[in-house]
């Protein structure tokens, strides 16, 4: 927990934050509405005697009271997909519509990409890309298990991504759920902080900036880009969005989210951020008893 000490000045009720980080996370699943309705999925869980608790902010997110969420009929049928509660936030903020062309830049293992397809009623095009070939098989497996027919899988570096293979030259929306230092997954992966170092944060921040810039370039004017990470580090969050504001035509916009969160930071470590970054969301583990997350919503302005 030592690396998290540097956040003491910016997190309200820091002791509650640390205590939450020490607690293991429960099992959450997302109902896959490509294959069934929330009502039918919950009825199926009741038939199997699996107790659940529906998230207030999103009726498709269920917290299961079982140690083996993968060994249920709902999982076998692809009615549910194991997905951490906060991990279901970015696709909801991106808010894609049926028929949209959507790019998920860092998509493996596919929980959010298939959620995007579900939010679009599996109509339109979701390009699910990942640079890591080893993770592509998990992405493909999940896409097929969940029956996402509108999803195309590519294996490229998002930073210099080409749309040449598609019959369109820009996306309506893009999700940059960036590779990060993963501090916010500490409740799921107790060793998440083992390799923590300022150098690692700086190097991953460079990659994040490159991916976010390319996503903004590849999205049409008036289109939406959501930037998210599962880390607390401002270098990987506000500073990355700040860099995008300075280099690309875009602005940070408001969004509604029925979860408790703190606003984005105005400054960190001597660096001052655009006032609009307060529109971003910092979701801490003690807020909603979830993992940690950062989400910012951007609009492409030219």
């Amino acid at each position: 927990m030592e690396p998290l000490e540097r956040y003491r000045p910016i997190i309200d009720d820091f002791e509650a934050f640390l205590a939450a980080c020490e607690r293991p996370l429960g099992n959450a699943v997302r109902v896959n509405t490509i294959k069934t309705s929330v009502e039918r999925a919950t009825t199926a869980l009741e038939e199997d005697g699996v107790a659940y608790d529906q998230a207030d902010w999103n009726p498709r997110v269920l917290r299961l009271e079982t140690n083996s969420p993968g060994s249920t009929w709902t999982s076998f049928h692809g009615f549910t997909h194991g997905q951490e509660e906060v991990s279901a936030v970015p696709p909801v903020v991106l808010d894609p519509r049926p028929g949209d062309r959507v790019w998920d830049c860092c998509a493996a293992p596919g929980g959010k990409a298939t959620q995007l397809a579900a939010l679009m009623d599996d109509r339109g095009t979701v390009v699910a890309n990942d640079s890591n070939l080893g993770r592509i098989s998990a992405l493909r497996f999940n896409a097929e298990r969940l029956g996402a027919t509108s999803l195309a899988v590519t294996n490229d570096d998002a930073r210099n991504y080409s749309l040449q293979r598609f019959p369109f030259d820009e996306f309506d929306r893009a999700l940059v759920d960036a590779p990060c230092s993963c501090e916010g997954t500490i409740r799921k992966n107790p060793d998440a902080l083992d390799n923590w170092s300022p150098d690692h944060i700086n190097s991953v921040a460079g990659i994040q900036k490159g991916i976010l810039r390319r996503a903004l370039q590849a999205t049409c004017e008036g289109g939406t880009v959501v930037y998210s990470t599962c880390t607390f580090a401002p270098e990987e969050n506000e500073a990355v969005v700040q860099h995008a504001l300075e280099t690309e035509d875009c602005r940070v916009v408001d969004f509604d989210l029925g979860l408790e969160y703190a606003p984005g930071l105005a400054e960190w470590d001597g660096e001052t951020f655009d006032a609009a970054l307060e529109r971003a969301a910092r979701i801490y583990p003690h807020h909603n008893d979830t993992g940690g997350f950062f989400v910012a919503k951007l609009e492409v302005t030219a």
Partner: protein, 183 residues
Amino acid sequence: MEDDTTDERADDAERELEQNVGQRFGRLPETAAERTVEGRASREEVLEFFADRFAIPPATFDDDTFWEKGAGKIWLYSGEASTPVEIEAIGMTCLRTRQEHWKPTTDFVQRFGHHASECVIDLDREQARRFAAGEDQELAWDGDWGYLIAAHTVAGEREPLGVGLYVHGELRSMVPKGRQRDL
């Protein structure tokens, strides 16, 4: 079914056709007459297969396209793409062709099997559990032998589990290892 003379003419034409390229996706031609790749199934044949075998209405797939990658593996996709395309995946694998008995995939059957009304075998919960675990089981079935859609009842409705091969009084689960579950 084509008659013998058409078959011969088709064979001549096949010599002029391109070979299937394993590493890229090619969209299926609408009909066999529009075929430009040797041995490739047509969209019409795929729709006929689903309709003839399982009574799945062809209109089910009005918004979808079919693609081949590898020899005979057919993918179903509802998004936009140009043909041919070199890409990791588009949509989902739905059918294995270029063999005597075409075989639908488990994932396809779970996604579209509720449109089927023929060659669907209904299992009770214990039979469904064995099927999901990948076990073969002896079962009575007075319909056609071959590939069937196995289903059971979930939340009051029939729900497809996957593909089974029915022969000699036995239903063999075709659920791939990675999709099998002990429930």
